[in-house]
């Protein structure tokens, strides 16, 4: 090193340690790392679910309480919402009016809300069928794993609303763009987790 040397690119840096694109890249990478940490939480809950699966304590069994039909429709809804968010990401860099971006984000938000509504109805049906979390170790594991995903979707939905408000207030400034990119990562991540839930929880539950 030499303390006396100004980096040739110093002017680009403008006194900041990083340029704007570098900052955005750092911001996105940080969110990736967060998602990986969050993935560990889901992984452990899946493992716990696997351990607890046979511990029904004489109560309802997976095959008795899962309804594959609604779960399949929920899967389609969530996958579609990932597609619509993908479309929102495509229009993110468009120079034109923000209408299309708003449109795609609104559709995604509606699909997210529909997913949550259906999931709540499922849980309600399980409760009324005597499948509530305090009944057995197995149901405890189910109600820690699946609603945690739902809670993430809820957070994503609230975040979506905040971003739409910020788009109105700030337009597409660097911070809004960065946070929409992060939200997109979050939303797609939840989709992947749901695929795992659909396979490990619901499909496996069909095996009698």
């Amino acid at each position: 090193m030499s303390a006396g040397e100004v980096i040739p690119t110093g002017l680009d840096l403008g006194g900041a340690s990083q340029s704007a694109p570098e900052r955005a890249a750092t911001g996105v990478q940080g969110f990736w790392v967060f998602l990986m940490s969050d993935a560990v939480i889901f992984a452990l809950l899946f493992a716990t679910y696997g351990v607890m699966l046979s511990r029904t304590a004489g109560g309802p069994t997976p095959a008795a309480v899962y309804k594959i039909g609604p779960a399949f429709i929920e899967t389609l809804i969530l996958l579609t919402s990932s597609f619509t968010f993908g479309m929102a990401s495509v229009t993110l860099n468009d120079a034109g009016p923000r209408r299309r971006l708003f449109g795609w984000m609104s559709v995604t938000l509606l699909l997210g809300a529909a997913f949550l509504g259906m999931e709540l109805r499922d849980f309600g049906a399980m409760f009324s069928a005597g499948a509530y979390p305090t009944r057995s170790g197995y149901l405890s594991a189910f109600f820690a794993l699946v609603p945690l995903h739902g809670l993430h979707v809820l957070v994503g939905a609230v975040w979506m609303v905040v971003m739409m408000v910020q788009l109105r207030v700030f337009g597409r400034d660097a911070q809004v763009m960065l946070n929409i990119r992060r939200l997109a990562l979050f939303w797609h991540f939840l989709d992947i987790v749901w695929i795992a839930i659909f396979s490990v929880v619901y499909l496996q539950g069909l095996i009698r």
Binding site: A3, V6, G15, S17, V40, T134, G137, S140, V162, F170
Partner: protein, 694 residues
């Protein structure tokens, strides 16, 4: 009417939740000690608030420290927290040692319940609120300077992590005054910590303090890892990073992946306790074995989160005070990475006796022994670094030497315990307690103290007092051996850990020696505080403003002490390892840049303190079943996060003229300083400018 209102407001609080009331109703020595501890917390809090108010420092503290996003100030606040918590947990350790020495065929002065709370808080605090804040603070302060950066990647997140940790530590202190703490040990094993056996608030304090702390640590790990990946100055390739940065990176990766298991374990236990789930209960399909797996899936990597940064400190210290480049740098990097990976493959050795098959135990036993190999590589590398070096026995170097000898001893007992048949005999005895203190005191505490002595002059601009440093060092080492070697003997004789009363008179001499050792350790802590006091009083004689008191090697020594807020006036560029050491010998390390530029830095933010306080409030509400308070706290967190996302004016600019003034003042101090040779480092002649021997 009032019968319904008060429980809704106060939850499960009643007057006997206060230790003062308990001591009044039942004035035993044990209760009076509890009330005394609570009184100390209350009076200390009142005293600090009164002093700050008296000297009108609230505004200064709030603006310059609490809301600061400067990684250096955040680092210092972490270390202050670590020292406060170290003091409490060490006093608790002394109480426990004295109790055991006193309670040979008599009940002693502490009730079994009080004793159990003491070992639970001692362990929880030492791990989560002493060790973690200390290493986080050290990394926070040093790592960005070493990689030539102006801050961490996410300064606001850094502040939030600090305040979450601070809030959690505050919750630990509150548990001393309101209610009681868990009696379930630092690992909080169910089913004992389930509602059926521990219906009181204790385990809830434990759950929420750890949960807040672990969320803070996860975010810290994320922040450090991204900082190291993305914020290195030009030319700072991975294999040119100082070893402390490498160990910080590995510890950060471990935090990212190992803290979530703890969050899951405590969250599931909370679901059991609050909503009646059956994860770890004895009935309806609960399985506590799953808790042991989850907890130690965190717990073992945690050991390396604690130890790796200390390894980094030793690498810096040994190299600097031997005036040699690290021997086997590459092997040290690989050994660090190997340890980080292997740390995820050994967790079962914490519960060999819990009934899994012998084959599984064998696999985990072998993996455990395998970790000894990269650790051995490191010891050899440090020894060879000293070989034919110009070794100076400064305080940090003394800690490094004491570490090498003591840690190897602890490693050997670890290899013994890694052998499952032998572990069946030593499991849950004082032998284990001696072993892990033998790893963590040299492997963490000495390392942190070495780092504290080594970088203190950089952070505050003056050296710490040598004499008191040596006294403290002597007490730490002698106290450690006196306190813990007897525990090996007792453990081998079969004394169970966490025993409140001892029924074998033959153990008396060993327990006395261990009790004496604990008192010596208390003297060690007191000496550290005396040292700080003496050093501050004599600071003008020990100034090292020029910034390089130890003929340092890395970028952190190339700037003034204390460093300016922006760290580097111009971002440095490096072309090899030990860049500053090198440029001192080949060029002009203090040549000013051709031109100064405006520097943008993050503005302070109140989001950190608000979120930390709101998080702690939520936790307190949950502990006491004051649901309204918990909901209020949670809403405050959510509102604070969303409100902050609307902030756009988040940067301030330090203009080029001011940078130039600051740098000119420092450079004139450098010009005025008299260079000293290495042998003069520990004298007052040291003004922070190294004379380069021809």
């Amino acid at each position: 009417m009032t019968g319904a209102v008060w429980p809704a407001v106060l939850g499960r609080f009643d007057w006997s939740s206060l230790p003062f009331v308990r001591a009044w109703q039942d004035p035993t020595v044990s209760e009076i000690i509890g009330a005394g501890a609570a009184a100390i917390v209350v009076f200390a809090a009142i005293g600090v608030v009164a002093l700050i108010t008296r000297y009108r420092r609230w505004g200064y503290l709030w603006r310059e420290w609490f809301t600061s996003l400067d990684h250096k100030k955040i680092g210092i606040m972490y270390i202050v927290l670590a020292f406060v918590m170290l003091s409490r947990a060490l006093v608790e350790a002394v109480l426990m040692r004295l109790q055991q020495a006193a309670a040979i065929n008599t009940p002693g002065f502490l009730s079994p319940d009080h004793f159990a709370q003491l070992f639970s808080t001692h362990g929880s605090i030492m791990i989560f609120f002493m060790a973690m804040p200390f290493l986080t603070g050290l990394i926070n302060y040093v790592m960005p300077l070493q990689i030539g950066s102006r801050d961490v990647a996410f300064p606001l997140l850094n502040s939030i992590s600090l305040w979450l940790t601070g809030g959690a530590a505050g919750l630990m202190m509150v548990s001393l005054v309101i209610g009681r703490f868990s009696t379930g040990g630092w690992s909080g094993y169910p089913p004992y910590t389930e509602l059926a056996f521990s219906p009181d608030v204790g385990p809830d304090y434990w759950i929420w303090a750890l949960t807040l702390g672990s969320i803070g640590s996860t975010l810290t790990g994320l922040n450090f890892a991204v900082t190291i990946y993305k914020m290195r100055c030009p030319g700072m390739d991975l294999m040119r990073m100082p070893l402390f940065v490498w160990t910080s990176l590995c510890a950060s990766i471990l935090m990212i992946f190992a803290m979530p298991p703890l969050t899951v374990a405590t969250a599931l236990l909370a679901l059991d306790r609050y909503l009646g789930f059956h994860f770890f209960t004895n009935d309806l399909g609960g399985d506590m074995m799953n808790y042991a797996n989850l907890f130690w899936l965190f717990g073992h990597p945690e050991v390396y989160i604690l130890i790796l940064p200390a390894f980094g400190v030793y690498s810096e210290v040994v190299s600097t005070f031997s005036s040699k480049g690290l021997y086997g740098y590459t092997s040290l990097v690989w050994a660090t990475m190997a340890i980080a990976v292997l740390s995820f493959t050994v967790w079962v050795h914490h519960f060999f006796t819990m009934g899994q098959s012998a084959d599984i135990n064998a696999v985990f036993g072998i993996a455990t022994m395998a970790i000894g190999v990269p650790t051995g590589v490191k010891i050899y590398d440090w020894v060879w670094t000293m070989f034919r070096g110009e070794v100076r026995f400064t305080v940090p170097m003394l800690y490094a030497l004491a570490f090498m000898m003591t840690f190897v001893l602890g490693g050997f007992t670890g290899i013994l315990l890694a052998f499952p048949p032998l572990d069946y005999l030593a499991h849950n005895t004082l032998f284990l307690v001696a072993h892990f203190h033998n790893m963590l005191i040299p492997g963490l505490l000495y390392g942190m103290l070495a780092g504290y002595h080594y970088w203190f002059p950089k952070a505050f601009g003056f050296r710490l007092d040598e004499k008191w440093g040596r006294i403290a060092f002597g007490c730490w080492v002698v106290g450690f051996y006196l306190a813990f070697m007897p525990l090996y003997v007792l453990g081998a004789a079969g004394v169970a850990r966490r025993t409140q009363e001892v029924f074998e008179p033959a153990f008396r001499p060993w327990l006395y020696v261990a009790g004496l050792g604990a008192l010596v350790l208390l003297c060690a802590l007191a000496s550290l505080f005396v040292q700080l006091w003496v050093s501050i009083k004599r600071r003008d004689a020990n100034r090292v403003t020029a910034g390089d008191p130890w003929d340092g090697r890395g970028l952190e020594w190339s700037i003034s002490a204390p460093p300016p807020e922006y760290n580097f006036a111009s971002i440095p560029r490096v072309s090899r390892r030990d860049p500053f050491y090198d440029v001192k010998r080949t060029g002009d390390p203090y040549a000013p840049p051709a031109a100064y530029q405006d520097i943008r830095l993050p503005k302070g933010s109140m989001a950190g303190p608000v979120i930390g306080l709101a998080g702690a409030t939520t936790a307190f509400g949950l502990v006491w079943h004051m649901w309204w308070l918990a909901i209020l706290g949670l809403l405050a967190v959510i509102v604070a996060v969303i409100a902050r996302s609307f902030a756009r004016d988040v940067e301030k600019v330090i203009d080029a003229a001011e940078v130039e003034r600051t740098e000119a003042a420092w450079l004139s101090a450098v010009a005025a300083a008299t260079p000293i040779l290495r042998e003069g480092e520990m004298s007052c002649a040291n003004q922070g400018l190294a004379e380069i021997p021809a």
